[in-house]
Subunit: 401 residues, 2 copies
């Protein structure tokens, strides 16, 4: 029933048996028979276009606001799955439903993407958050790959250029930091640019991507990397030095782990074995640092010096952290052949599949407390949508098969 495109698989060193091959089918089946149908059935706005993403455990819409992060991510997801997994016309229609809504209502006069809109498309929250633009770029680049169209290309490229233009002061008037006292830079944007440049390669060309990647890799792997701990910091001083402040001490293990599979993708593209090993090792450091030895699962936030963090939700177990770890471990194992990554994959797989999956109503929970009990039963909200889980299921399947 499922027709596969020809997809390049990750390169497993020839001498090693694939310890993770047995997982492939369950990841693909979960994607095709549980996750994608949940969003197809429950998130469509038949009246206005676009998607509802605030869905109860059962899949009912409990709030109709439309968050641009999640609109863009769902367009990306259905476009990507159409282009890479199966040319299912329903998926392409689903992607277009969101893209048309985004194109019509999503931007201000300067091309910045709003943070949220009403169900009808009226702007609610200003474009204070550049990640809305990042996910819009991904959305239109992926849709253009599924269904080539100059209008989609133009939106993707214009938005990408706008991100590059805004990258050093993207908060603009909404920046609350007093100028000059403590200038920090944040890991999120370099990290996402790693991934974004590859998504755009078919439009902007390999040459431009190649010219862009070394800086991004340097930022992520040198500037934000803290050599004493082997961890990546969320925020550093402008000169790259450690800032002994709430922001400077912050470790977000999931963020690091996700970034490291982006870096492994870039390193594989360059046949850079040393960089693959470095990224895999940093990923493992973050996972070991972030693993909850008492209850299992990966903490959301930690302080590198062990002090209390600002984030009250620091000890919660979030869906995206765990599914990104599965991708990173599958890639690290397949690219290096080192058993430690396969062992950790099995451990994280068991925690994740036994705690996050909702056997009763389908899809996965997003927010567990420290003990792994469901804390918020929503399937989608302001931040959880149709993105990390399907992307992870696809990536793991495509890596280990």
């Amino acid at each position: 029933m499922v027709e596969m495109n020809s997809i390049a698989t990750e390169q497993m060193p020839a001498q090693t048996a694939n310890l993770l091959a047995a997982y492939a089918d369950m990841y693909k089946n979960e994607l095709i028979h549980n996750i994608l149908p949940f969003w197809l059935n429950n998130s469509r706005d038949h009246v206005n276009g676009g998607y509802f993403t605030s869905l109860t455990r059962e899949g009912k819409v409990f709030d109709t606001d439309k968050f641009m992060w999640l609109q863009g991510r769902e367009v990306w997801c259905f476009s990507y799955m159409y282009a890479n997994l199966q040319q299912n016309e329903e998926w392409l229609e689903m992607a277009k439903l969101g893209a048309e809504f985004m194109e019509k209502y999503g931007r201000d006069a300067d091309g910045n993407w709003y943070f949220s809109l009403t169900a009808e498309g009226k702007p609610l929250v200003q474009p204070y958050n550049i990640f809305s633009d990042c996910f819009a770029t991904m959305a239109f680049a992926a849709l253009d790959k599924a269904l080539p169209n100059d209008a989609y290309k133009k939106i993707a490229v214009d938005t990408f250029q706008n991100i590059i233009k805004r990258q050093h002061n993207w908060k603009g008037q909404y920046n609350k930091a007093y100028p000059g006292t403590r200038q920090l830079k944040n890991f999120s944007l370099p990290m996402i640019l790693c991934n974004l440049s590859l998504e755009l390669e078919h439009i902007i060309g390999t040459e431009q991507v190649n010219s862009f990647i070394p800086t991004v890799i340097h930022e992520v792997m040198d500037v934000f990397y803290e050599p004493n701990s082997g961890l990546i910091l969320e925020n550093v001083a402008l000169d790259g030095s450690f800032s002994d402040t709430y922001e400077g001490r912050l470790i977000n293990p999931g963020h690091t782990i996700e970034a490291m599979w982006f870096v492994m993708d870039l390193a594989k593209r360059d046949n850079n074995t040393a960089l693959i090993h470095k990224a895999a090792a940093i990923m493992l450091n973050a996972l070991e640092f972030g693993w909850d030895k008492e209850y299992g699962g990966i903490f959301y936030f930690l302080d590198i010096k062990g002090h209390p963090v600002q984030q009250l939700e620091w000890d919660q177990k979030l869906w995206w952290v765990h599914v990104e770890a599965l991708v990173a471990l599958a890639k690290a194992y397949t690219l290096t052949g080192e058993k430690i990554y396969a062992q950790w994959f099995t451990k994280v797989h068991e925690y994740t599949w036994s705690h996050f999956r909702d056997l009763e109503y389908g899809e996965w929970f997003g927010y567990l407390n420290r003990r792994g009990e469901v804390s918020l039963s929503l399937k989608g909200g302001k931040w959880k949508g149709c993105f990390h889980i399907p992307r992870s299921l696809y990536q793991v399947w495509n890596t280990v098969k």
Copy 2:
């Protein structure tokens, strides 16, 4: 040893025995022998003036940033205790240590209070948050009561007038809401103005306070009150109607409970028995709605329709919620004589004293998980300082004695 000023006590109806009188001494002792010494011993910045408020469980400084909310609140606390509880010169010196730092470094050129400063007093975060100004007003008004001084009076009054001027658009450039699409107003500022006007009465005069109070009471008790549920909403549409959105559905039981004792204070001042009973009843509604029937304690955030909330920390048990409930229940019982409030006082007292107090290192924990286990062991941070606990201990003692 402790010399008391003459303090007007709450009026207990003559026919009722005081069911809570037995609690008086333990509240006063906890305040004088545990809480105030902890802050006196651990929060002083001997070098720069002002206070460190990021303190570990043991009382050690783990971060040196100075948050204006907490600077103002600690000035208020030591000034208030000096003026109302005991003329302890160490307390007055402590209040002045913070006030001098605030006066010197705390404001921008327009008199707006920064959100945070470095240890040395350099501005870190812009004045995006008008509650910094509210706590600065309280600080200097209270210090002026302890140690009358025209400079303190002027800071308090100037800041208060600035709050009034900014009250309808206090976020200014930092407001992310797109103009006109969904105009909501928030409960926090009217609530705090209730309390603030009384703190300033000795400076601005009774006439001005009297002219100010009816509007504030109307806002809190009519506009934000939702009659079907008997609860108070955190956000309503500009015309006072219910907004079926994440913000509009939000219930913050602790916020309501705290506001209701402010209203009881205002009602008592006006001999308005009906308003006392109404405020006490709403407080009880919020407490019953917010009480965790499974693990005990009061939830932090809930959705009035039972939907998932945005706040990941919704089910945590916070110190301020519980100690404000103790004040509200003590006042409700003493002012109405109704046993239900004494019964709830005992229940909340038992939960609070058994879960939040740190018997090993003194002071109280701030952040417990749903089960009542310590989630963050800090004694002070960005939001918890020397304020709610000492104020509550004083208010309960002064109400039930």
